[in-house]
Symmetry: C2
Subunit: 259 residues, 2 copies
């Protein structure tokens, strides 16, 4: 008798700190027959997998032979079709720049059930770990998120910097190696050189390091500090308010508004 | 002898589903002397608090007498100063449209330690619960987030719809009662009437309901379906791809790209 097909769970592992895994994700991880994980997933989390679970590293780190997305999709489908429960553990949130939807479509195409368990996204959690809110009443009422990594072969990989430069807070994911391109794009589109900027490397982990500067000087400062990837960049007034004195922060938030 | 000051933990409770609470947040909740919680926090989560914990509801629901932000700030500071450990449980993520930073500043001003524990933000988790990724290779490389609720007394509460209309995916939080204003803003700025739109009410909970339509028709459809707040709206091609056949989704994502 053939085994019943099992389910693939696309689980967000959060931004790095293993305590930021969700309760449901942790429970699925502890029960899974197979765990397929990315480079940015904390090794501490893998210790929660069953002793007899199959752990498969498909991390696409720099300088290593990468497992293609097609191969990852095949792995998920094969294991689930063989009746084994699969947790696909992905850094951050599976549906935010994570190729999670591509894996869901592959499962769906093969008739395999696939369930998404959202995770704590690095978009807000990494700035928070550096004390920075992405939005703030009276200071930032909108934020935009881009990734510096562009899909291979995309005809036009430029961002609409004119639009981005007019959003209160801009968060740039994975931007270590393209920082100067993106900073130049925002500056050319009219975002002021004095705009406060923070770059956060290895956010929410013990290796976290930060550089605070301005749009005009951040590239030089990040080079000087030799910040490593993965790195997240936050552009906007929220960066300055996060470092202000209590009185100055209150003035920025409330102005003449009631508290 | 005066008791030692304790710490205030600003904990993100996630989008509604109690399983989306973080492991660290759950652990702090189980130990807290005092839990100060919002309206959008699941009642199931409160059952994890200690039997003798003080539970304080400061929810600002429609049609109820609201606790002012100033009063909430005072509560947090008073309890922590009395030596009691405080979990401030907030829907979603504390630093994303949550006034969490205001509470942190209030604690800091009073000399009380305040630690932020990020949560699963509704921004990606609620669309995911309706099958929609906010970004997708080949389809959406940026997203922007706004809230429809504006700060009381803000001089200019209009959003920069021209900029927003040029971001691939726009996510609107708390937009039930201002949906037509925001939809009109995007349309007047040039976003096409045919742009796919999804509205998701009570996302990630058993009461979740969705309406899928287009920018030109969504307001009428949401009224017809009598969707309730809280509601999140997603505008962009990702909405259509999420509902496409497997073959059409693959074509949209990869086009002529290698898988």
């Amino acid at each position: 008798m053939k085994p019943a097909r099992s389910t693939v769970y696309l689980v967000g592992a959060g931004p790095g700190d293993p305590g930021l895994m969700t309760v449901r994700g942790m429970s699925l991880l502890q029960q899974a027959d197979v765990v397929v994980y990315d480079r940015l997933v904390s090794a501490v989390l893998l210790e929660f997998a069953r002793g007899d679970a199959e752990l498969i590293d498909v991390g696409k780190g720099p300088g290593r032979k990468s497992v293609t997305q097609k191969k990852i999709n095949q792995l998920l489908v094969e294991r689930a079709t063989a009746g084994r429960s699969v947790v696909r553990l992905k850094g951050g949130d599976p549906f935010m720049f994570g190729r999670g939807f591509e894996e869901l479509v592959a499962c769906r195409g093969a008739g395999v059930d696939c369930v998404v368990i959202p995770g704590v996204a690095s978009v807000a959690a990494v700035p928070a770990a550096a004390g920075i809110p992405v939005t703030l009443r009276g200071v930032a009422r909108s934020f935009a998120v881009i990734t510096a990594k562009t899909g291979v072969g995309l005809a036009d990989s430029r961002h609409d910097y004119d639009a981005l430069s007019r959003i209160d807070t801009v968060v740039i994911l994975m931007g270590r190696h393209k920082l100067s391109t993106i900073v130049d794009g925002l500056r050319c589109a009219g975002r002021a050189d004095e705009t406060p900027v923070a770059c956060i490397s290895h956010g929410t982990t013990p290796r976290q390091r930060e550089v605070f500067s301005t749009l005009g000087k951040i590239v030089e400062r990040v080079e000087g500090a030799a910040l490593e990837a993965p790195m997240i960049t936050v552009v906007g007034e929220v960066v300055a308010v996060s470092r202000a004195t209590v009185d100055d922060a209150i003035a920025a938030i409330y102005g003449s508004l009631p508290v």
